[in-house]
C-alpha cells in the first residue's frame, strides 16, 4: 500500500516537534478523515531581503500518509524563500515520496495547505 519512502518518513519523521518562539504557526484540519497538521516556522531575511524559512517543524495527528507528507513538506520547504515555498504543489510532495494511494493524495494537499497557512499567518502578523 505505501512506498518504502513513505514508511521511512513515518518511522523517522524529519523536523518533528514543537518550536520554541516560532515566527509563525499554521494549522489545518480535515473533517472527514480527521487529520490535523501544525507547522511551525522560523523566518529570517536573506541578503536580498527575501523572507527565508530558516527552520521548520511539524506535528501531525493523522494516518501514515499524513505523517509522511507533513514530514516531507517540511524537508522540501526548509531553507527556501517564501516565494519558492509557495510554489510547492501536492504533486511535488507525492512525487518525492514515490507515490501515494489514490485515497491518500489529499494528505499531500493538506500538508501543502499547512505550510501555506503558516506563511500566510506570518505575512498577516508582519
Amino acid at each position: 500500500m505505501y512506498t518504502d519512502k513513505v514508511i521511512e518518513h513515518f518511522q523517522k519523521p524529519h523536523n518533528l516537534g514543537k518550536m520554541k518562539d516560532p515566527s509563525a504557526v499554521g494549522e489545518v484540519g480535515n473533517p472527514v478523515c480527521g487529520d490535523l497538521m501544525r507547522i511551525y516556522l522560523k523566518v529570517k531575511k536573506d541578503k536580498k531581503g527575501d523572507q527565508v524559512i530558516d527552520d521548520i517543524k511539524f506535528e501531525t495527528l493523522g494516518c501514515v500518509a499524513a505523517i509522511a507528507t507533513s514530514s516531507m513538506v517540511t524537508e522540501m520547504a526548509k531553507g527556501k524563500t517564501f516565494s519558492e515555498a509557495l510554489k510547492i504543489k501536492f504533486s511535488d510532495v507525492e512525487k518525492s515520496l514515490g507515490s501515494l494511494p489514490p485515497v491518500k493524495k489529499h494528505c499531500a494537499d493538506l500538508a501543502v495547505k499547512a505550510l501555506q497557512a503558516a506563511i500566510t499567518n506570518y505575512q498577516k502578523s508582519a
Binding site: 505505501y2 514508511i7 513515518f10 518511522q11 519523521p13 518533528l16 516537534g17 514543537k18 494549522e27 489545518v28 484540519g29 480535515n30 473533517p31 472527514v32 478523515c33 480527521g34 487529520d35 490535523l36 497538521m37 501544525r38 506535528e59 501531525t60 495527528l61 493523522g62 494516518c63 501514515v64 500518509a65 499524513a66 505523517i67 501536492f90 489514490p102 485515497v103 493524495k105 489529499h106 494537499d109 495547505k113
Partner: protein
C-alpha cells in the same frame, strides 16, 4: 499448526485460518470426489452425500431440521437474501396491504444496512434503524415501541463484529413470539450470528429466531461459503434464481468442498468451550494490560456484555491507521475503525452509533483473538503497543486537545 513465529495475527474477527483438520476433510472434494451434487450418477451421489452430511452437521449445531438449512456463498449473501427476500417479498407486501416495514439495528453489518437502504431507495419497504445504548446493544423496549402493524422483519446481529457487544437475542425472540400471538402479520426474526458461533449458544429454538446467518470463514472454515437457517413456513422469496438446489431456495451448483468444510468447521466448534475460556482470559489480560500501561485509552463498547475474543480501544491523541501500520511493521495484525483506513474514508458506523465523535472513531483499534492466539503473543503486544502510542503521541504533540483549526471541506479532486 505451524506458525510464522515473527507474525502475530489478532484479526480473527475479520477472518480465520482454515483449521488443518477441516482442510483434510475438504481435500477429496476438489479433484477426487468432484461430481456435481445434483448429478444422478455415482460421482454426483458421492458429492451429494457429503452435502447432506454437512447439512446435518449444521442443523445439529443450530438445533433445527436439516431441511431448514440452506448453503450460501457466505454471510453477505445470507443477509442479502433475508433482507431482500422478506422486506422485498411482493407476496408478503400484498398480505400486509402496502409497503412492509423492517427494523434493523444501526450497528448491523454493511450488507444488512446496504440491503435495507436499497429497499428504501427503491420504495419497496420502510426501514427503521434502531439506535444502540452506550453499552453497544439494542434496547428491547425501544424495539417494541418501533413495531408497527406492517412490520414484517426484525434483524439484529447476535454479536457485533467491531465492538463485540452481545445483543439480547433471546429477549427479542421472546418479545416477538408474544407479539406474534396477537398479530395479523407475523414479524419474522433474523439474526446474523457470524461472530457468535465460536462462543455463544446458537440454538435457534432457544433464541426464538426464524432466520440465522452464519459464515464458514469466521469459524476456521473456508471463505466463500456460509449457511442460512430458514424456519419452515418462513415467507422468504428466492434470491438466487435458477436450478432447484437447496429446496428451491437458492440455486447454484453446490460448492461441495466449501460445504464439507462448513460442516466440519461447525462440528469442531462444538468442542471448543475450554478454548473459549482461554481466549477470554487472554482477552481480559490484554484489556487490563492496556488500561494499566497506556493513559488516555478507553474501551469501546460494553466491558461485561462483550464477546470472549474482542478488544476495541480508542487512544487519545493518536490516529488508528498509523497505529495499525506501526503494529504491522512489528509483525502484529489488527484493524481499525478509523476513516483513514477505509477505502471510502468514512468512519466506522458502529463507533458513530455508539456515540463517539469523529475524532474518537478516528483513534480506535480492534484486536480480536482466536484459536491459535498464545499468551506470549499478548505479552508481545503489551510490550510493543505502549511504545507505539507514545511515539505517535509525540508526533501529534497532543494536537487534538489544543487544535484550533478551521475544518475545511475535503477536496473532491484527489480520488477520495
Amino acid at each position: 499448526m505451524e506458525k510464522n513465529k515473527s507474525k502475530i495475527y489478532l484479526d480473527y474477527a475479520a477472518t480465520t485460518p482454515v483449521d488443518p483438520e477441516v482442510f483434510e476433510v475438504m481435500k477429496p472434494y476438489f479433484s477426487e470426489k468432484y461430481g456435481n451434487a445434483s448429478s444422478v450418477h455415482l460421482f454426483g451421489q458421492e458429492a451429494q452425500s457429503a452435502v447432506i452430511k454437512a447439512r446435518h452437521q449444521v442443523a445439529d449445531f443450530l438445533g433445527c431440521k436439516a431441511e431448514e438449512i440452506i448453503f450460501t456463498s457466505g454471510a453477505t449473501e445470507g443477509n442479502n437474501t433475508v433482507i431482500k427476500g422478506i422486506g422485498g417479498n411482493k407476496d408478503l407486501a400484498k398480505k400486509v396491504g402496502g409497503k412492509p416495514h423492517i427494523i434493523v439495528s444501526k450497528i448491523e453489518h454493511e450488507c444488512v444496512l446496504g440491503s435495507s437502504e436499497r429497499l428504501e431507495y427503491e420504495g419497496v419497504a420502510e426501514v427503521t434503524y434502531l439506535p444502540i445504548t452506550e453499552e453497544g446493544s439494542v434496547d428491547v423496549e425501544e424495539l417494541r415501541n418501533n413495531i408497527k402493524p406492517n412490520t414484517v422483519l426484525v434483524s439484529v446481529m447476535y454479536v457485533n463484529n467491531e465492538i463485540g457487544s452481545i445483543q439480547p437475542i433471546e429477549e427479542i425472540g421472546s418479545l416477538l413470539k408474544n407479539l406474534n400471538r396477537e398479530r395479523k402479520n407475523k414479524i419474522y426474526f433474523h439474526t446474523d450470528a457470524a461472530q457468535a458461533v465460536n462462543y455463544l449458544d446458537c440454538d435457534v429454538q432457544k433464541l426464538g429466531v426464524d432466520l440465522m446467518t452464519i459464515s464458514a470463514h469466521k469459524i476456521y472454515g473456508p471463505k466463500g461459503v456460509g449457511a442460512l437457517f430458514v424456519r419452515q413456513g418462513t415467507a422468504l422469496a428466492r434470491f438466487m434464481d435458477g436450478g432447484e438446489q437447496e429446496f428451491k431456495l437458492r440455486a447454484g451448483t453446490h460448492n461441495s468442498p466449501g460445504i464439507v468444510g462448513m460442516g466440519a468447521a461447525i462440528e469442531k466448534a462444538k468442542n471448543q468451550k475450554s478454548k473459549a475460556e482461554d481466549i477470554e482470559n487472554m482477552r481480559n489480560k490484554l484489556i487490563a494490560g492496556i488500561q494499566d500501561k497506556i493513559s488516555g485509552a478507553f474501551l469501546n463498547g460494553s466491558r461485561e456484555k462483550r464477546i470472549a475474543n474482542n478488544v476495541n480501544f480508542r487512544f487519545d491523541g493518536v490516529e488508528g491507521e498509523s497505529i495499525i501500520i506501526a503494529l504491522d511493521l512489528e509483525g502484529i495484525a489488527v484493524s481499525t475503525g478509523s476513516a483513514c483506513a477505509a477505502k471510502s474514508l468514512s468512519p466506522s458506523h458502529v463507533l458513530l452509533a455508539l456515540g463517539l465523535n469523529h475524532l474518537e472513531t478516528h483513534s480506535s483499534v480492534r484486536f480480536s483473538l482466536g484459536r491459535y492466539t498464545t499468551g506470549q503473543e499478548i505479552d508481545r503486544v503489551l510490550d510493543v503497543l505502549p511504545k507505539i502510542i507514545e511515539k505517535l503521541r509525540n508526533i501529534s504533540g497532543n494536537l487534538e486537545s489544543t487544535a484550533s483549526v478551521e475544518r475545511g471541506q475535503l477536496p473532491k479532486d484527489f480520488g477520495c
